[in-house]
Symmetry: C2
Subunit: 290 residues, 2 copies
């Protein structure tokens, strides 16, 4: 089960998930100038960030939208980036948030678990219903693949649907979380978590404690640290015995160089330092809690 | 406003939205054999279906998952298919069901309203919240683009989230529908509908009547006809004064040739006949209702 690999990676490297949401604007000018195309510059930038963070990252998350925005040539960089991460034996989460059903979901599973865009985990959106998860299960059960389904996200608008009060349970996201955990029981790793995880933003303290308790078999992909206001002590609530989740940072790591004088020249080194700082920040709060 | 163009197209050609969910397996062997690549065969097939249905289709819906499954070369066919439809002055809905927020949503808007994958409408998933719609609004307001947000889909699993009973309103999909209609008021066309429409499956009769009444400014993209069990009389409930929605059929049209002896040779002609039959089927039920 792929979740065991991710669990081990957290034990070894800490919780940081390096988010490669690489906007062209993030790339230092000198890197763009020395390359013959924007796409080559993006790949060089990604490659250097990956090389600099391999031993401090639990995994990488690549946000496909940034590549899709550049059309075919952007998706070729996306492909190369995934291939490079996998060639380094690191774990890659394709942040695609696809959500569809039946044969269309089958097609998405094929797109992102085989061929050009093969990844280890994909993020999925459950709004259409959990029958949309079924086409992915053969990959999860037999091909070392995993899923992270959106449960509760960290944006303001999450209140529109996810926080709607339901008659039966507390909120829509509680209903969704429970259903996903139930499906996940078919794909349990020996680490105690399922290869079907959940995306859970690290905001709202009381909710964090309850969510971790309710969804005790679910591994969390946790956005919202840093730029979005989440602190290490918040994140710690979503972890359990020092594991059970990875914490994404994209801009915080990619743009760390902007906070350092002459940082542009050593952007990858700056990214590494920020990843180390973040790892230690989270680990320190776990020690206090345990 | 793009919605006025779609409204006029329905007035002129009827309600049929031709779904180009082109699986390689749907393409007759002889078409595959005469082409030098699978991708060329898919494009030829799409092109012939488009040419044969231009005057009986209100619009085309291209399901990106089928192309994404083939990786980079599949997405090149996707690009060519969109370009071909637009070159014929027909309206194309990119069925991408993306759903994200902030800068990521901006990137998806750029990906599908500009450049390689430019379309007229995109489908979106609202689960993360309606703040995810904002980055698309400049395109809707100023660039003749439109959206269809998932409200209530026609699959069994729709019950998992969309049908959850809420405390305030009836069901999650009612809450979602109302919020989307509210946002849509910023982008009203002169036809009386907004360029922000909704995806509403044509099942459950009583619900159809209520949904049409509640969401009276929302143009519907209606899946579920034919293969999924929806009948023309069901569809008619979701329309209003003969307009206000388009009805998708993918396999019903693409595979019409399989129901005809020697149909393989004339697959495009068979697709046309099925589109005509479907158009007239829906129109006949509207006449009974009005």
């Amino acid at each position: 089960m792929i979740i065991d690999k991710l669990f081990e990676s957290v034990e070894k490297n800490g919780h940081v998930c390096v988010g490669l949401d690489t906007d062209v604007e993030y790339i230092p000018k000198w890197v763009i100038n020395k390359n013959t195309s924007i796409e080559d510059a993006i790949f060089e930038y990604n490659k250097n960030i990956i090389d600099a963070t391999l031993d401090v990252a639990s995994c990488y998350k690549v946000q496909i939208a940034y590549y899709e925005a550049l059309g075919i040539s952007g998706l070729m960089v996306y492909k190369k980036t995934l291939e490079y991460i996998r060639s380094k034996k690191a774990i890659v989460i394709a942040d695609i948030k696809r959500g569809d059903i039946a044969k269309t979901a089958e097609m998405y599973a094929r797109a992102h678990f085989e061929g050009d865009f093969e990844s280890d985990f994909v993020t999925l959106n459950p709004y259409m219903g959990l029958d949309g998860v079924e086409p992915y299960l053969p990959y999860v059960k037999n091909k070392e693949k995993g899923l992270f389904l959106l449960v509760r996200t960290s944006n303001k608008g999450a209140e529109d649907i996810q926080y709607v009060d339901t008659k039966e349970k507390e909120k829509v996201y509680n209903v969704v979380g429970e259903k996903i955990q139930q499906i996940g029981e078919q794909c349990m790793g020996s680490c105690g978590y399922s290869s079907i995880g959940g995306v859970v933003g690290c905001t709202h303290v009381e909710e964090g404690i309850k969510l971790r308790a309710d969804l005790n078999k679910m591994f969390f992909l946790i956005p919202g640290y840093g730029a979005q206001g989440g602190k290490a002590e918040d994140v710690a609530l979503y972890l359990h015995q020092g594991n059970g989740g990875v914490v994404n940072s994209s801009r915080g790591i990619l743009l760390a160089y902007k906070k350092v004088e002459d940082g542009e020249k050593n952007y990858a080194e700056c990214a590494r330092k920020e990843a180390v700082r973040m790892r230690d920040d989270i680990l320190s709060k776990l020690k206090i809690n345990s």
